[in-house]
Amino acid sequence: MLFGISVVGFLLMKLVPGDPSSFLLGPFAGPEAREALLRSLGWDQPWPVQYVKWLGLFVQGDFGTSVRYQTPVSEIFGQAVVNSAILVALSFAIAFVLGFFGGILAAVKRFSPVDRVTTTVAVVLASAPVYWLGLVLVWIFSVRLGIFPVSGIGTVGAESDVVDLLHHAALPSVTAALIPMAVIFRLTRSELAHALDQPYIQAARARGLTEASVVFRHGVRNIVAPIANVSGLQLGFIFTATLFVEVVFAWPGVGFLVFQAIAARDIPVIQTVVLFTGLLFVAISLVSDVIQGLVDPRTMASAGAGT
């Protein structure tokens, strides 16, 4: 699997039309200069050899040099990852807390119109382009109401502090959280509503337990497994949503980096991002399998056999 991902990353570099000589030397370089440069970069060797060398460097943390900034990709990439991680973490927290507890509330209260409304909203949201949702939120909260800043990660020229950061992160993280929140909300509500209809809940009530104890210790505990599973998937979704959200809000993270790299044809940067995302997604699915096994031991055996 990891081999496959690294091959994809390598091919991304090799298959892009043109070689480094065209953007490093410019259009007026002679053929000799071109060849000398390619030889110095090792491009005259067979592909498998190049692959091994490239992979060796990559494992050591040398991801190549950004064409646009002329600095090592690892430097630019590191800061972008931190910025993106802030956004993803906030977004996931919003989606999970509101979706999960909102879902519990809706299942316990059983207001029936809520079902229809939330299902419709969730279905409609799921078809909406994330960047478009971002623009709509900007229009409502920044342009009309003026509560939140339009873009950026901090006030220009001001000392950066946590409050300012959160103020800037509010709109982008909510944008990326909207769809996963709807998904988690719906799942929690329907699973819990189903669980609360089971005979063991009646038994718990008959024993005279408090309602909170019935709901949380007997109801919620039985739905943790599917929720954990879906939340893992939603984390992946938030990551891709963040790519677009960062572009809309000019948030200097990985997505914004890719966006700039696309415009500048900065292949080493795109390559690094693609590779790391592949690795990240493999890691997410592994971790969510493990969590799945922990919260629901019954799936342990089959999960082990599946992967």
């Binding site: 496959g4 991902i5 991304l12 279905v123 799921a126 382009p129 342009v143 693609v274 592949g278 997604f281």
Partner: protein, 315 residues
Amino acid sequence: MSKEGDVLEGAVVRDNGTRQADPLTTTQAGQFRLIVRTFARDRLALSGLILIVVVVAASFGADLLTPYGPNEAHREVGRYAPLGTPGHFLGTDGQARDVFTRLLWGGRVSIPVAVLPVLGASAASLVIGLMAAFSAGWIGSLAMRILDVMFAFPPVLLAIAVATILGPGMMNVMLAIGVVSIPYLTRVVFVEAVSVRGSDYLRAAQVAGTPRRRKLLREVLPNVISPVIIYASTGVGGMIVMAAGLSFLGLGVQPPTPDWGIMTADGRVVLQNLPHIATVPGFLIIAVALAFNVVGDGLRDALDPRHRTRTWTAG
């Protein structure tokens, strides 16, 4: 309880149409009528289909609906004419082009750019999936391994990678969307084909000495194709959103071609004063993507005999 009604009616059609003792064998015409009937009863799916037809018709009949060309600049009203300007009810954009006209023409780009690659990917995945399930050779399993790797990447990023390799442009973005769709569709084909592989009717065909080619085309394909149709029609919705997203990032269709994603990106500059330029194309994307989703759901109910049987036995 319209569901029960039309299934019962379907059973009548089946009986009248075939006059066979076994109710499961139907003529193809009877089967088709049953599918159409079930689908037509599903109001949501039907309205989705109508919406798609209307939007596609409006896009391809743009010449009849608007007197302007998509890239025609209207100097007399100027750049960024507001909503409700006489002759340009949605106003004009940053290059004084009529927004309504570009929305219509955008449909010619934004819809086919997702539909065509999904069609192509469906055909490709039928070949790959059947090969992987039915050939003993290593090619099929190698193909499935490669697809496993592609699954590791989120589709948007994979599309970005492919579009980066190929460079921007309409043709290339379609290729990228096709490539991204293949793993998902192939998995659908493969899972379905493997379940058919172990079925009694296939063993019966084997015993009867049916040639391999005929076995695949007449016994396996019909059982595999409806999940593909269902999945593909639902998938088109997501791919429309993704194609517009690639255009929005500058990787897809290039200006001045009218496209809903590009229009959204262009409208960002004037979000403050003219929010409709960025948001209206988004509403169209949502509407069309939703329509494909509900059509996919409707097809699932209509095409999947298990689903029909379930509603039947339930009633």
